[in-house]
Amino acid sequence: MSAARVGVVTFPGTLDDQDAARAVRHAGGEPVPLWHADTDLKGVDAVFLPGGFSYGDYLRCGAISRFAPLMEQLIPAARAGLPVLGTCNGFQILCEAHLLPGALVKNAGLHYICRDQRLRIESADTPWTADYTAGQEVVIPIKHGEGRYVADAATLAAVEANGQVVVRYLGNPNGSLNDIAGIRNEAGNVVGLMPHPEHAVEELTGGPGTDGLGFFTSILKSSLEKLVNA
């Protein structure tokens, strides 16, 4: 059987696309490059929106990218159940596109932060986190200037009540409400997180180890299951 195909989107200013593609390969999948100006999702099984500074992040992070031609395809596909993971800038784009509730604003400390961050996986109930167990602690790099998750009180309460928090910070680095590092949509197929699992898939390269690999193995398994069941 052929490996699951995970689309990796490149906007002008995307930076972590090469890392995301590598992570997909490491997990045994096939990365499929998707270009922001294209209007074709190339039949991928899932989509990864990597980090970076799309359009320079000048207006607000992700504000301009969400209007890209590719997004016009991706938004309805995600609403229809296509698994989508956005990390960092990808998370910001998903919020700007209203695929995820809330928004990401400047870190409380006002500085960009790059560090190895301890996290707790809160939900193993998404196609991107199935290989983790709820409550599991992992260390994954964060690197962002605008990663403070905010939402109005009602939205935040709903996010908590629906179990939509996927990852929480242990030691809040940026002032995110309720220590939220990542969330999912109600259906669970769309996940956004500030940490960068694609930077934690190999022992050799910097970082804190391979704790991030689970996001990629999870999606490959769930894509395969879908294929088998189809």
Binding site: Q18, R22, K143, G207
Partner: protein, 754 residues
Amino acid sequence: MSALSVDSVQRAEQTPDERLPYAELGMKDDEYQRVKEILGRRPTGSELAIYSVMWSEHCSYKSSKVHLRQFAAKAPKSDALLVGMGENAGVVDIGDGWAATFKIESHNHPSYVEPHQGAATGVGGIVRDIMAMGARPVAVMDSLRFGAADAPDTRRVLPGVVEGISSYGNCLGLPNIGGEVAFDPCYIGNPLVNALCVGLLRKDQIKLATAPGPGNKVVLFGALTGPDGIGGASVLASATFEEESQAKRPSVQVGDPFMEKLLIECCLELFAADVVVGIQDLGAAGVSCATTELAAKGTGGMDVRLDLVPLRDPSLRPEEILMSESQERMMAVVTPDDIDAFMAICAKWDLPATVIGEVTDTGRLVMTWHGETIVDIPPGTAADEGPVYERPYHEPAGQAALNSDDAARLERPTDLRATLLSLLGSPDLSSKEWVTGQYDRYVRGNTVLAQPADAGVLRVSEVMPGATETNRGIALATDGNGRYAKLDPYAGAQLALSEAYRNVAVTGARPLAVTDCLNFGSPEDPEVMWQFAEAVRGLADACKILGVPVTGGNVSFYNQTGSVAIHPTPVIGVLGVLDDVRGRVPSGFTGEGARVVLLGETGEEFGGSAWAHVEHGHLGGLPPAAVLEAERALATVLVEAAAQGMLTGSHDLSDGGLAIALAESCLAHGVGCTVTLPGGDPFTDLFSESAARALVTVRPEAFAVFAALCGRHEVPYAGLGLTGGSSLTVEGVLDVPLDELRTVHEGTLPAIFG
């Protein structure tokens, strides 16, 4: 004259006596006379614009050239050198068909005026130099020096500089893999911001700044040209036209890292499509520099229609366009057959690109402005035949007194524990996490070592799609020590090189090549010129002994306030290669039960030391001896031991000596140690700054083989003890829990900068 008419060549011939404001543009009388001789007439305003920027100190190296020649003259034989000095950046062969290009450059003065933008555009500029070689930029480093940490102006300059480097570098997607932060009152008013970029390319893909082939098109692409950094040019525009300068012309440039990121990806796609004959980045002298240099190195001529340059501000005069330092621009030479493909790739990346001229074989650079010829010069006279000065120099009046004020006279401490903590928490030696935490060190996923390692290490594979797989890695370190260089610039430059070389070697990488950024005061001051001459001589001599050639660099003069110059500060970058990057040695103690071994010989050397500086505010005597043969032997041992997998960790000894090296090694991974000093005077053992030393941890079972290796290369070694526990214990001398070390080490910069 109407606002739209210009000072044409024809007009220059008709008005031979018109006085141009060359002095206001920094040109000397005799230099102006030479321009007239070259042209056989007075220059036009546009020609004067070109000559004045191209012959400036910054572009022509007129004061430093006679000294810098030693780098080539004394260069050691190196098979690795593919492109040497004189190009945008040097290129070295790192094996398996791969090459690395790297260079360090200063952006000191702009960073004082506007710290954020000054530092940001410094990063932008050096990254374009690397792109111009045909490489993919893969990492940056930054070497920073500020006034005293608690000085009010440092609180303005440092956070701005760090934010500028962080916002620009992070946005480009280039990991920051190392650098330095140092403080000294001598840098107040003259902070040093030196940025390094390294790029990778296939050996057969090197691009050069050249414009061969008459009929080939000259394309300007990237950002629009605006009135950036042309404070001087407006003098010219208004003086020539006897009208008030209409607009204010800023001397500060603002960078657009997003544009630069597009430029990087676009250039790589252009290179891959093989549609570029020659390429040049637009740096300090903008279009003037790019056109004259490309033309001079090509078939010799170029026709340019300057009115075709796309502008951000339509009021710009031709002189201003020639001098504009707008960022994020490149110039390429493209064959007529490839021009459509070239333009299509620029369009894909949303980058403006305009054909502004054509290569000729006339030997003349000719520019027109709405049909009138405004420039007609032999390009080489501007690019390569600038003035060369043999500036007078002599030893500074106070040098002998400074050198005889030996640190030996200073009172020695009795409480070595307190001394350790005081040094460890001093701004220079404290943790730089406040700075490095603002830099993305992970992006691109090839960072093997970054802060707090001694050198940044990158994996080479996966850089270019489809290129041969390799397990190679590269290592880079930058170092400088203004105090040492002040005491003895010859030795100071050698010590800076030694430290960077050693920092590369401790990771297991074989040092290959050197880049340098020479930060000095005014070359017109003979005492500063002496410092410069000595530093260059020292560096060239040391490169020869260590077998590493200088491949390129940068000179920054006039770092002074009034008549007071900064400490002479050569900052040296060394690039090394790891044949198998998986064998890299991490920094510090990585686990319990390893043998802690001190390599090298410790003498009583406190001149310019961190101890003298921090505890006594003293600078005098002589710096540690530069022991280059010992340095070379040490590196050989480190590289061989790493290749054979004997080492579990390593760290070089530098500022603060063994004491600081032990503390940093403990803190690196939270592993303590219990050691016994070799047996001399404990203060000297712990705090002397003798060169050519390193602290390694050896696998216990490999110790005998390691000792034999040291013996073979005549590197003194001393087993000090074992790693383990949660404190730094020096038997009979001091005992500090790691938590306390950490609090002291990490608290300093956050307490000052928030």
